[in-house]
């Protein structure tokens, strides 16, 4: 990952959100996330967008099609045109990612990925959710999955925070303290 690309993408994302201070609709937010996963999945598109040999018109056409595929509204058109005009179309993946992160940060929305060694019951899920809400406030969304590598325990991870209490983690600690001796 290029550090400069990350910094530039963050600037585009911040500029877009500053120009559009009203909250995004659920559909728009979902479209941004979809856009990010689309570009992550199809990395060759970012590469092709970088080619100066490709005409700007073709790039516009391609972006229009992607816009329709992921369901982005017209609100995003100026941003996309600006990025293509600046010859930075290869940054779209990062810009969508930064848009997601920045929007979540500004609106106090956090997505937690909760992994546990065993399937959590509804009560346990509720407990995790209420603990996080109590601790951080704002809107908390959790996705749950089973991760047998934890051996026993639970791991809560968002883009900004991490909490883990598992056997795997303890074994790691033991391993590293032994390695350092």
């Amino acid at each position: 990952m290029n550090v400069k690309d990350v910094a530039l993408s963050l600037c585009y994302a911040k500029a877009f959100l500053n120009k559009n201070p009203e909250p995004l609709s659920d559909k728009d937010f979902a479209a941004i996330c979809e856009g990010y996963s689309f570009f992550t999945k199809h990395k060759q598109i970012s590469f092709l967008m970088r080619l100066s040999a490709l005409d700007k018109k073709i790039k516009y056409e391609a972006i229009e099609k992607i816009q329709k595929t992921v369901g982005l509204s017209k609100k995003f058109e100026p941003l996309m045109s600006l990025v293509i005009d600046h010859k930075r179309a290869h940054l779209f993946s990062q810009i969508f990612n930064q848009l997601c992160l920045e929007y979540r940060k500004r609106n106090d929305i956090r997505f937690f990925s909760v992994s546990s060694s065993q399937e959590l019951s509804d009560d346990q899920r509720q407990e995790v959710h209420s603990s996080l809400t109590h601790l951080l406030g704002g809107s908390i969304f959790c996705s749950y999955k089973v991760n047998s590598f934890l051996i026993a325990g639970i791991r809560l991870q968002s883009n900004e925070f991490l909490w883990e209490s598992s056997i795997r983690q303890r074994l790691w600690r033991v391993q590293h303290s032994l390695m350092q001796r």
Partner: protein
């Protein structure tokens, strides 16, 4: 007994149940990994010089804060850091374990033992970066720290709490001089710390063996960051040594710290700065390279409430050029310098101290009275000798006075020659200088000078111990004692038989 894996899992889960979600670790993602450095996106509340834990087990220190990422230097070369790895804030700065049990041990830049003698029991953890003592806490330098090297103790004396730079070309005896000083501290209640920065491991092994063989490890701690270690470790090692020194100073002890050498330290910092893309300045060093060393050396000093930290930083120069960037910086930071001359070294004058270029700005006040009294004309005599020596090389005919000065200078140089690992106490030094000052060596052959002074010292020590003890006790040579010594020297001169 048959145990099901499910039972074990629930047993573990029960053990883990007591760990409450008190606080969440703030994390970021590694977005770029380089040579000893990585850049992490996120960690928005991270602070400069904060310690960061990586999920893969490595650790690092934040040394650059940008708007969208932070640059972290890694502590361990052998633990890989991967892109997108989670980096956790610790909320702490880098600390090292300190305690009395460090004595006699060899530790690396993170304070872990590397001498194979097992773990070190530490009593506390101290941050490696700390404020230098303020003016209120400091006491004037008024006590001598004997190096045991006659040329230094007589001409560029070092006081407790002083910072005296050892400067010279490669292979001119800089480390040997520092080691001699450490060896001389035996039985003097001075704790010694030797910081090896970016040196070869074979060199360090030789130094350790030497210290062990001479029984100096009992009061010495070695901090090592050899050339194979991460650039961060090489950068940290002098601060780690200084922190250990400060710990002992806080206990009221006198500490001597040797930084071998700060040229390597500056090079390590230059590498870090270039990796952080900071603008390079003179010789590609960053603009804050002066602060790098000034904040380290300012931590040395003599404190009012007891305890002192004396620093002997070493710096290597190229072709006797003391006007290079790092040497001039260090000369201006320290309280004097001992310049080791390549030409003198090659002509067999060892220690190769260039008296003209060496200076001690504060040590004179701390010099023992006995040595001060007997060495008062030595500097002038050597200066006159050097001038006349240049003059005599033109084949000019010299008058009798000039010839006498030349002869005296030659004998002074002979007296100041000293074999490695043999150090002299201040009484021995005072006796040697007395013999020279009073002209007892003027009539001797040059080859007999060394034997004469050494034998005279041992003659006084064994035949007239009361004289020796009087100087030792009073640290001075009274007029009466001076007369007595004069008589003793005459007596010895009549007995002296030159070795074959």
């Amino acid at each position: 007994m048959d145990i099901k894996s499910g039972d074990l899992v629930s047993l573990f889960e029960k053990a883990l149940g007591s760990e409450p979600i008190e606080h969440l670790d703030e994390i970021g993602m590694v977005i770029q990994v380089g040579d000893g450095i990585c850049r992490v996106h996120g960690l928005e509340n991270a602070v400069y010089s904060e310690l960061i834990d990586f999920e893969g087990g490595n650790r690092g220190i934040i040394l650059d804060l940008e708007e969208s990422y932070v640059s972290i230097f890694l502590l361990y070369n052998n633990i890989p850091v991967a892109e997108l790895e989670v980096a956790k804030r610790t909320g702490n700065v880098f600390k090292i374990p300190v305690g009395e049990k460090l004595l006699g041990r060899v530790v690396n830049a993170v304070g872990r033992p590397i001498d194979g003698k097992g773990e070190i029991e530490s009593v506390d953890h101290w941050p490696v970066e700390s404020f230098a003592p303020g003016v209120i806490e400091r006491s004037p330098i008024n006590e001598s720290l004997e190096t045991g090297v006659l040329a230094i103790d007589a001409l560029v004396p070092v006081g407790k709490g002083q910072r005296e730079l050892i400067i010279g070309n490669r292979s001119t005896g800089k480390t040997a001089l520092a080691l001699d000083t450490i060896l001389h501290q035996k039985g003097k209640d001075v704790i010694c710390i030797f910081v090896s920065i970016g040196q070869r491991q074979a060199n360090l092994a030789r130094i350790i063996r030497l210290l062990v063989e001479n029984g100096a490890m009992d009061y010495t701690v070695i901090v090592s960051a050899d050339s194979s270690e991460s650039v961060l470790c090489q950068y940290l090692s002098p601060y780690v040594g200084c922190t250990i020194g400060e710990y002992y100073r806080s206990k009221g002890k006198d500490v001597l710290i040797v930084y071998d050498d700060l040229s390597n330290h500056a090079v390590a910092y230059r590498e870090m700065s270039l990796l952080m893309r900071r603008p390079p300045g003179r010789e590609a060093y960053p603009g804050d390279v002066f602060y790098l060393h000034s904040r380290l050396l300012e931590r040395a000093g003599n404190l009012l409430n007891g305890g002192s930290l004396t620093a002997l930083p070493i710096v290597q120069i190229q072709s006797d050029d003391i006007t290079a960037y790092i040497p001039t910086n260090l000369i201006s930071i320290t309280d004097g310098q001992i310049f080791l001359d390549d030409q003198l070294f090659k002509s067999g004058i060892r220690p190769a101290v260039n008296v003209g270029l060496s200076v001690s700005r504060v040590g004179g006040a701390a010099q023992t009275k006995a040595v001060k009294k007997t060495a008062k004309t030595l500097g002038l005599e050597l200066a006159q000798y050097r001038e006349l020596l240049d003059f005599s090389q033109f084949g000019t005919e010299l008058d009798r006075d000039a010839q006498q000065r030349l002869a005296r200078g030659q004998r002074a140089v002979e007296v100041l020659k000293q074999p490695q690992f043999i150090t002299y106490s201040f009484v021995q030094q005072a006796l040697m200088l007395f013999i020279l000052q009073e002209g007892f060596l003027d009539e001797l052959e040059l080859s007999d000078v060394h034997a004469f002074v050494v034998q005279f010292v041992s003659y006084v020590e064994s035949v007239y111990p009361q004289v020796y003890d009087e100087i030792l006790k009073t640290q001075n040579i009274s007029e009466e004692l001076l007369k007595q010594l004069f008589a003793l020297a005459k007596e010895f001169a009549s007995l002296f038989v030159a070795p074959e």
